[in-house]
């Protein structure tokens, strides 16, 4: 067992996996000598050399596209998008190409491409360094979207991602990089995709949350315990495809559900989860399905006050839970 931060969990797993599998290489902007702008690949250029740690030109479309080409050849490229916000120029390559090769060739050509992207807000990044992009991509069949949020989950899912034969969008909440610490065994355990995790067992209300919001939710749940409100926290971990069963089982038990995310409300991931509940847990619901999410504005402002207003947090989550409990 080691205690480590989210960012260390990523770095160490990348290193170990590259030692294991010579087909893995990393490309992206500034991933080489600079070690990436968040230092995720720090020291890896020194260890693996410029053959395997490749500074790319500043061009996301082709970062993803060359990753696709290399994956088609049989390698296991990992591409880093410097900020999740900057994946937008690669939308066509990611959605219409990477996610469709298997389907459009009846399984002949596959794209085992791992795309890492730091996402999320609360770090003073303003409109273009704070976005949560998961809902846009969770709408895309054929593309795994995962967002593990603890060192344990990150290590297990990153290992798994490097064995999956389909493209994976691996989202890392940048504010949790150094904020969140946790334990992880020193073994090569794996966590499969499509399996949610109950991060806290409770009986009154179910909250579904991931990323930074998972941690804010856990804090809110802790606080509510003092008022004898028992909150169950489900971390979907894989956002596409969702583990519908675990979510349904929990909500059927508690009868009340809250979904939390930073992404704006309309058509955020919460929409799909709420729709699922409205369809499959209808008879079990004791209260309206609630969502706490970023407001429907184009993105998160820079000014502290406005950023704080935008971001959901433990306080806002606790307020919503109290309201839901009282329903």
């Amino acid at each position: 067992m080691s205690e480590l931060t989210n960012i260390d969990a990523i770095t160490r797993t990348l290193q170990a996996e590259m030692r294991r599998d010579p087909r893995i290489f990393i490309t992206g902007e500034d991933v080489g000598k600079r070690g990436g702008v968040f230092r995720v690949t720090k020291g890896m250029y020194e260890e693996f050399g410029e053959r395997r740690i490749i500074d790319s030109p500043l061009a996301e479309l082709s970062i993803v596209a060359t990753g696709i080409g290399a994956a088609l050849y049989g390698l296991r490229p990992i591409v880093e998008i410097q900020f999740a916000d900057f994946i937008a120029p690669a939308f066509n390559q990611l959605v219409q190409e990477a996610a469709r090769f298997r389907y459009r060739t009846n399984g002949e050509w596959t794209v085992p491409l791992l795309i890492r992207a730091p996402y999320g807000g609360g770090i003073g990044g303003g409109l273009y360094h704070s976005q949560s992009i998961e809902a846009t991509y969770a709408h895309v069949p054929g593309l795994y979207v995962v967002a593990p949020s603890t060192p344990y989950d990150i290590m297990g899912m990153l290992r798994y991602a490097l064995r999956v034969d389909d493209p994976v969008l691996f989202l890392e909440h940048k504010k949790t990089y150094r904020l969140i610490k946790g334990e992880a065994p020193d073994t090569d355990y794996m966590i499969p995709f499509g399996k949610a995790d109950i991060k806290r067992v409770g009986s009154d209300i179910t909250v579904i949350a991931y990323g930074l919001m998972l941690h804010e939710t856990l804090q809110a749940a802790q606080e509510l315990m003092r008022q004898d409100i028992s909150v169950e926290v489900v971390d979907p971990r894989t956002l596409n495809p969702l583990d519908r069963d675990t979510i349904l089982t929990s909500v059927k038990k508690t009868g009340k559900a809250l979904i939390v995310h930073e992404d704006n409300l309309t058509l955020g991931l919460g929409a799909e989860i709420a729709a699922l509940l409205a369809s499959e847990a209808f008879e079990y619901l004791d209260a309206p399905v609630m969502r706490v999410a970023g407001p429907d504005v184009p993105a998160m402002p820079y000014a502290r006050t406005m950023q704080d207003f935008f971001m959901p947090n433990a306080q806002k989550i606790a307020d919503a839970l109290r309201k839901l409990y009282a329903y």
Binding site: P57, G69, Y73, Q93, R102, R104, E108, W109, D166
Partner: protein, 348 residues
């Protein structure tokens, strides 16, 4: 064929030998090239007829592109090198080994279509066993993908090369720029083959780009840009073998531009009379690559009327067979639509 692949083409022209020999192609190979052009043409023509007969819903044609395409197929090491084709590459992919039956199954969207399981529209060529990589419909996306595959080849220190094809109009997309930029920076073993047929649907070249030639753009990517007569199968072969050899020697990418003409409308949905004159089309019909190749083969004793008739008959049989086969094939089971989204997950 291996001859032309393994070594470079002789640089001092043997003036007395016919061009194909100068290029290291013996008679049988040159004739085989002609045969593929002919077969592709007859298949393509039948597809137009089937569309007119309402047998099939859509056709996008490669008529006029055969010389360049057959040259590309013969310049590559089949099953070893990789190809990212585009939707006009009927002749190219046929010469590389895709069967007429496969092509016809795609036309009808029938079960057993091996490229996409009848999921894609016709002309979306793919065959893993032949190293033909699947294309999508959004143009130019394959260009940076080809660079990525070439990066992988270099990473593995393999001696393969990658070729990708596209139209001149598609060079306006950002994908073109980014793909060539990677190839130039990393000196990748990739050949960018632009089939410049002078139109992007209705847009003439002047509306697609502010330079006369696509090849003029090569210098922006630190690579040679080579223009050749895309209607001449041997000139095309010369340019292609040189580019392939350069890539295989590790000297980096080449941007090739084949000048030609789209003899057909853009697709079966198009009516090209709204945007180009019949005189223009007639002018280019005189430069029909199939006519030119036939003339060459005749003049150089590779072909006579009897042999040609035999070829035509064989082509007709093959096309008939492919059509019959596809027409009689069943449609895919509807629920097939649900399969093939995700691969099997790894066991843990």
């Amino acid at each position: 064929m291996t001859l032309a692949l393994a070594t470079d083409i002789p640089t001092t022209p043997q003036l007395l030998a016919p061009l194909h020999k100068q290029l290291g192609l013996h008679d049988d190979l040159a004739l085989e090239m002609f045969w593929h052009m002919l077969l592709a043409r007859r298949l393509d023509e039948r597809m137009w007829i089937l569309h007119r007969q309402h047998e099939v819903a859509f056709h996008i044609s490669g008529i006029g592109h055969e010389a360049t395409q057959v040259a590309a197929a013969y310049a590559l090491k089949r099953g070893h090198d990789f190809i990212f084709p585009y939707y006009r590459d009927l002749c190219l992919t046929l010469a590389l080994g895709l069967t007429p039956r496969a092509m016809m199954l795609a036309m009808y969207g029938k079960a057993g279509e091996p490229m996409s399981g009848a999921r894609q529209m016709p002309a979306h060529y793919s065959a893993r066993a032949l190293n033909i990589v699947s294309i999508s419909s959004p143009v130019a996306t394959q260009i940076p993908q080809a660079s990525g595959m070439a990066l992988a080849i270099k990473y593995q220190n393999a001696d393969q090369v990658v070729m990708t094809c596209f139209g001149e109009g598609s060079t306006a997309e950002g994908d073109f720029h980014e793909g060539l930029n990677w190839a130039g920076i990393f000196k990748l073993p990739v050949i960018f083959l632009c089939q410049n047929n002078q139109y992007a649907i209705s847009s003439p070249v002047e509306r697609e780009m502010p330079v006369k030639n696509v090849a003029d753009r090569a210098s922006a990517y630190g690579m040679p840009g080579v223009i050749f007569d895309g209607n001449d199968f041997l000139e095309a072969y010369r340019a292609l073998t040189q580019a392939v050899a350069r890539a295989r020697r590790g000297e980096g990418p080449t941007l090739l531009e084949a000048k030609m003409y789209r003899l057909s409308p853009h697709s079966s949905d198009d009516d090209d009379r709204t945007y180009r004159s019949r005189q223009e089309v007639e002018y280019w019909k005189q430069r029909d690559p199939l006519l030119l190749a036939r003339k060459y083969c005749m003049e150089n004793g590779l072909l006579d009327d009897a042999r040609l008739e035999e070829f035509e008959q064989r082509a007709r049989q093959i096309v008939d067979d492919a059509n019959e086969f596809a027409r009689n094939a069943p449609y895919p089971p509807p629920e097939e639509a649900l399969n093939g989204v995700w691969g099997a997950l790894p066991k843990i």
